[in-house]
C-alpha cells in the first residue's frame, strides 16, 4: 500500500491558535511539552483514513509570520490541502478567512482548473471559551458559499485546549485529498497523481529560470 505524504498548510490570522491546534493533534495535548524544539518545522503524523489507507500528514504552520504576506509563496507551494483556522471568539479572524483563502489559491501556483476543487476545511478554534461571536451557522454558510460541486468545505469547531474535534478535523482533510486520486486510480492510470505533481514541478522549474 503506497504511503502518501500530504502537505497540509494551516493558515489563518495570528493568534487564532494554529500552532496550538497542530501541537494538540501531534502530541495529543495542549502545550505540555516542555522540551524546547526550535528547529522543528513541519511536523508529520500518520493518519488512517476512512477507507483504510494510511497517509502521513505534514502540517505546515506559518507561526508568527502571518503578516509576512510575501512568505505565502514559499509556504503554500506544493500544498495538497489547506486548513483555514479562525477564532470563534473573534469575528475579525472569521472575516479575514475570505482573504486567506484568496491568498492561498493565488499563491499556491496550482493549475487554474484545480483551484475550485482544492481541498479546504474550516476550523473554528477556541470553542472552550464561552465568548463565541461566530455562530456555527455563519461558518456553515461561508463553507457552503465557497464549496464547489466536487469539493465540499467541511466545518469543524474545535478546541486546541481540550482536544475537541481536532483529530476529526485532520482525519477529514486526509480523507478529502484521497478522493480525486481514487477516481483516477479507477481509470487505470495510477500514474495520474504523479503527472499532476510533475506538472506542478515543471511549473516550478520554469519559475526558477
Amino acid at each position: 500500500m503506497p504511503k502518501d505524504i500530504l502537505k497540509v498548510v494551516i493558515i489563518g490570522d495570528g493568534g487564532v491558535g494554529k500552532t496550538c491546534l497542530r501541537n494538540q493533534f501531534i502530541h495529543k495535548r495542549f502545550t505540555s511539552s516542555y522540551k524546547a524544539t526550535i528547529g522543528a518545522d513541519f511536523i508529520t503524523k500518520d493518519v488512517h483514513t476512512d477507507d483504510g489507507r494510511k497517509v502521513t500528514l505534514q502540517l505546515w504552520d506559518t507561526a508568527g509570520q502571518e503578516r509576512f504576506q510575501s512568505l505565502g509563496v514559499s509556504y503554500y507551494r506544493g500544498a495538497d490541502a489547506c486548513c483555514l483556522v479562525y477564532d470563534t471568539t473573534n469575528f475579525q479572524t472569521f472575516h479575514n478567512l475570505e482573504r486567506w483563502r484568496a491568498d492561498f489559491l493565488k499563491q499556491s501556483s496550482l493549475p487554474p482548473d484545480l483551484l475550485e476543487d482544492f481541498p479546504l476545511i474550516l476550523i473554528g478554534n477556541k470553542i472552550d471559551i464561552d465568548d463565541r461571536v461566530v455562530s456555527r451557522r455563519q461558518a456553515r454558510a461561508w463553507a457552503q458559499q465557497h464549496s464547489s460541486p466536487r469539493m465540499e468545505i467541511r466545518c469543524f469547531e474545535a478546541s486546541a485546549k481540550d482536544g475537541t474535534n481536532v483529530e476529526e478535523a485532520f482525519s477529514c482533510i486526509a480523507g478529502m485529498v484521497k478522493i480525486p486520486q481514487l477516481e483516477f486510480d479507477m481509470d487505470g492510470s495510477d500514474s495520474f497523481h504523479l503527472n499532476r505533481r510533475d506538472d506542478s514541478l515543471r511549473g516550478r522549474k520554469s519559475c526558477a529560470c
Binding site: 502545550t31 516542555y34 522540551k35 493565488k106
Partner: protein
C-alpha cells in the same frame, strides 16, 4: 558590424574595448560563455573556442534564442567560480577578502556599458556618471575595490590608464552631443538622438515622470504628489505613502532632487520625445537600472538598519506584533484602512516594509512592457540580491528572492528564458534561501554564522547602553541585517511551551533522587510547587540576544546615504494586486 541593425550592435560597438579583457579571460579556466549572444562582440571568434570552457555543475544551458545573431561571435564571458566573490558560497568568508580582480572589471564594465547606452535614452547620463564616480571613490575607501575605481575615474577624467577603456568612454562622453552619437556608435543610437531642445526655462513646472514612465497608458495616472520625481505607477494613495514608515523625509528634499535631475537633463541637452515612434520601445529607463546595484543595495541596508534599530526587546518578548492586528487587506498592499491603523509596534514596521518591498519588486518587473528591459530588470534584481547576500542583508535578500519567485513574475517564461546565464546561476543558488523547510535552515544557518562573530553579551550591553559600534571590538565587524520573521516564528512556537511544568512532570523527573539523602523534604515541596520552564525563557532570551546582536551588526554598515536613491526606495510606489495581475498578463499571455 554594420549589418546588424539591432540594439545589440550599439552595445557591441561600445563593447569593443572589452575585447582585450574578454580574450584574456577566455584563457582562464571555467569560462561560462554567454549563449544568447545579446552582448556578443562583433569581432569574430569561432564558436568552437568555447568548447573547452567548463560548465559549472547545476548549470543548464539556455536554449539559443531565435533572435540570436548568427554572426561569428566573441562571447562575452562571465562565470561564477567557487572562489569568485561573485559566487554564492555557503560561507560568507570570501567577502572579507575583497580583492576585486580584473574579473570585476569584466563584470562592472558591461553593466556600465549597458546603463550608459541606455543613458542616452534616459536623461540622466551625467547623473549616472557622477553617481558611479562617487561610488567608485567610496567603494575604494570602504572596500578597496580599486578596479571599479579605475574604470570610473578613467571615465571621468579621460586619463589614459587604459587606452581601450578610454576610447569608448570618450565616445560616450562625446556622445552627449547628438552628432557624435551618430558617428561613434553607429546605427542604433542615432535613434535616440535628441531633438534640439526648445528654449524652455528652468522654472517650467516639473514634468511628472509618470508621463514617460514604463510602458502602457494603463499606469499613467496622475501622481498624487507631483513633486515626486520617480513615479512609475500608482496604485492607491495609501500605498504611495506607506503609513508605517513614520519618519518621513520631507518632500522638499524630493523636490530638490528632482530639480537637480531636471537641470542635469537640460544641460545634457536631452529631451525624451514620447510622441516619436522611435523612442517608444525604450522609454525612460526604470529606476532600478539607473543606479548601480551596489548603491541600491546600500540604501536598502540603510533603510533596514533604521527599521531594525527601533525594534526593542520588549516588543519581542511581549510578542506585540501579533497583538496589533492590522486588517488583512493591508497585508496585501491594497491599502484600504491602512491609514487609520497606527502602528505602535516597530516590528510591524519591519514586516510592512518587508511586504512593501516584495510587492515593489514585483511591480517593477511586471510594469515593464519591453521584454528586453524586463530581462534587464530581473537581472539587476538578481545582482542586487547577490550583493545583499554578500553584505549579509538577509531581509532585502529575501524580499527580492520572494518577489522574483512570486507567481506573477515566475510565470513570465519568455522573460526568464532570456535572463543571462550568469544571473540565472546566481538565482538558482539563491532561490532556496527563502524556503521554510527544515525551519528555514539555510537562512538560519547564514544568520547564525553572522551572529556568532559577535559576543552576544557584549552586544546586548552595547545596544542597551547605546554605545554602538564605536567600541573597538565591533569595528572590525561586517554589517548584517536579519530576516526578522525567523525570530518571530521562534517566539511564537516558543510561546506555545508551558510556562510551568506540572507537578506530575516534576515528580516524575525527580523520582529517582527521592531515595537519596534527606532530600525528601525538598522533593515534597517541589512536587507541590510547579516548576518554571526554564528552557522557554532561555530560548526567549537567546532570541532577544540574537536580535540585539544584529542591531549591533547593522550599525557596522559604513554606507553612505544617497538621498535620491534613498528617498525613492523609502517611498517606493507599488501597484496593487489586481494591477500586478493585469500587468503580468499583459507582459506575457
Amino acid at each position: 558590424m554594420q549589418l546588424s541593425l539591432s540594439r545589440e550592435s550599439a552595445i557591441n560597438i561600445l563593447d569593443n574595448d572589452t575585447i582585450t579583457e574578454v580574450s584574456e579571460f577566455r584563457h582562464s579556466d571555467g569560462l561560462q560563455p554567454r549563449k544568447d549572444g545579446r552582448k556578443d562582440s562583433a569581432i569574430g571568434m569561432p564558436p568552437s573556442h568555447h568548447k573547452h570552457s567548463i560548465s559549472l555543475d547545476n548549470t543548464r544551458e539556455p536554449k539559443p534564442s531565435l533572435s540570436t545573431p548568427v554572426v561569428p561571435i566573441l562571447k562575452r564571458s562571465r562565470r561564477m567560480s567557487e572562489n569568485s566573490q561573485r559566487g554564492v558560497n555557503d560561507s560568507n568568508e570570501w567577502a572579507a577578502r575583497l580583492t576585486f580582480g580584473l574579473r570585476s572589471v569584466k563584470r562592472t564594465v558591461p553593466a556600465m556599458y549597458r546603463s550608459l547606452v541606455e543613458g542616452f535614452v534616459g536623461n540622466n547620463t551625467s547623473d549616472n556618471a557622477c553617481k558611479c564616480d562617487n561610488f567608485g571613490q567610496e567603494s575604494r575607501i570602504s572596500q578597496g575595490s580599486s578596479d571599479d575605481m579605475m574604470d570610473l575615474r578613467s571615465y571621468k577624467s579621460n586619463s589614459s590608464k587604459s587606452a581601450t577603456l578610454n576610447a569608448s568612454y570618450r565616445n560616450r562622453r562625446v556622445g552627449k552631443s547628438s552628432s557624435h552619437i551618430e558617428q561613434s556608435s553607429g546605427n542604433e543610437l542615432r535613434l535616440y538622438a535628441p531633438r534640439p531642445r526648445p528654449s524652455q526655462s528652468l522654472t517650467e513646472p516639473p514634468r511628472n515622470y509618470s508621463e514617460f514612465s514604463i510602458g502602457s497608458d494603463m499606469y499613467q495616472q496622475p501622481h498624487p504628489n507631483p513633486a515626486c520625481p520617480y513615479h512609475l505607477s500608482i496604485s492607491s494613495p495609501n500605498v504611495a505613502s506607506p503609513p508605517n514608515i513614520s519618519y518621513v523625509p520631507s518632500t522638499l528634499s524630493k523636490a530638490k532632487s528632482f530639480s537637480t535631475d531636471m537641470e542635469s537633463s537640460i544641460h545634457s541637452g536631452f529631451r525624451i520625445d514620447m510622441q516619436s515612434n522611435i523612442t517608444l520601445r525604450h522609454p525612460q529607463k526604470p529606476f532600478i537600472l539607473q543606479h548601480r546595484s551596489e548603491v541600491i543595495m546600500q540604501q536598502f541596508c540603510i533603510i533596514e538598519k533604521e527599521l531594525l534599530e527601533r525594534v526593542t526587546w520588549v516588543e519581542i518578548v511581549e510578542m506585540r506584533w501579533k497583538k496589533t492586528r492590522a486588517p488583512v487587506s493591508q497585508r496585501s498592499g491594497e491599502g484600504n484602512g491602512s491609514a487609520s491603523n497606527v502602528l505602535d509596534c516597530n516590528i510591524d514596521a519591519v514586516i510592512e516594509w518587508f511586504n512593501i518591498t516584495y510587492i515593489w519588486v514585483i511591480s517593477e518587473i511586471v510594469s515593464i512592457h519591453s521584454l528586453e528591459v524586463r530581462v534587464q530588470v530581473i537581472e539587476k534584481f538578481i545582482r542586487i540580491a547577490l550583493k545583499c547576500y554578500h553584505h549579509r542583508n538577509y531581509s532585502t535578500l529575501l524580499q527580492i528572492l520572494l518577489g522574483l519567485q512570486s507567481p506573477y513574475v515566475s510565470r513570465l517564461n519568455k522573460t526568464w528564458n532570456r535572463v543571462d546565464q550568469y544571473e540565472r546561476q546566481i538565482f538558482e543558488r539563491l532561490k532556496d534561501l527563502p524556503n521554510p523547510e527544515r525551519n528555514w535552515k539555510r537562512v538560519r544557518n547564514c544568520m547564525t554564522s553572522a551572529v556568532e562573530a559577535v559576543a552576544e553579551t557584549q552586544a546586548v550591553e552595547a545596544i542597551l547602553s547605546d554605545d554602538g559600534p564605536d567600541q573597538p571590538m565591533f569595528l572590525s565587524q561586517r554589517g548584517s541585517i536579519p530576516f526578522l520573521g525567523l525570530y518571530l516564528a521562534d517566539m511564537t512556537s516558543n510561546a506555545e511551551m508551558p510556562t510551568f511544568i506540572s507537578n506530575s512532570a516534576a515528580r516524575a523527573d525527580s523520582a529517582p533522587s527521592t531515595d537519596n539523602n534527606g532530600t525528601h523534604d525538598l522533593v515534597n515541596r517541589l512536587a507541590k510547587t510547579p516548576l518554571v520552564n526554564y528552557n522557554k525563557f532561555r530560548i526567549t532570551a537567546s532570541v532577544v540576544k540574537h536580535v540585539m546582536a544584529f542591531q549591533l551588526l547593522a550599525k557596522c554598515y559604513q554606507f553612505e546615504r544617497y538621498d535620491s536613491v534613498y528617498d525613492y526606495l523609502k517611498h517606493m510606489v507599488c501597484m496593487d494586486n489586481d494591477d500586478i495581475r493585469e500587468a503580468s498578463f499583459q507582459c506575457e499571455e
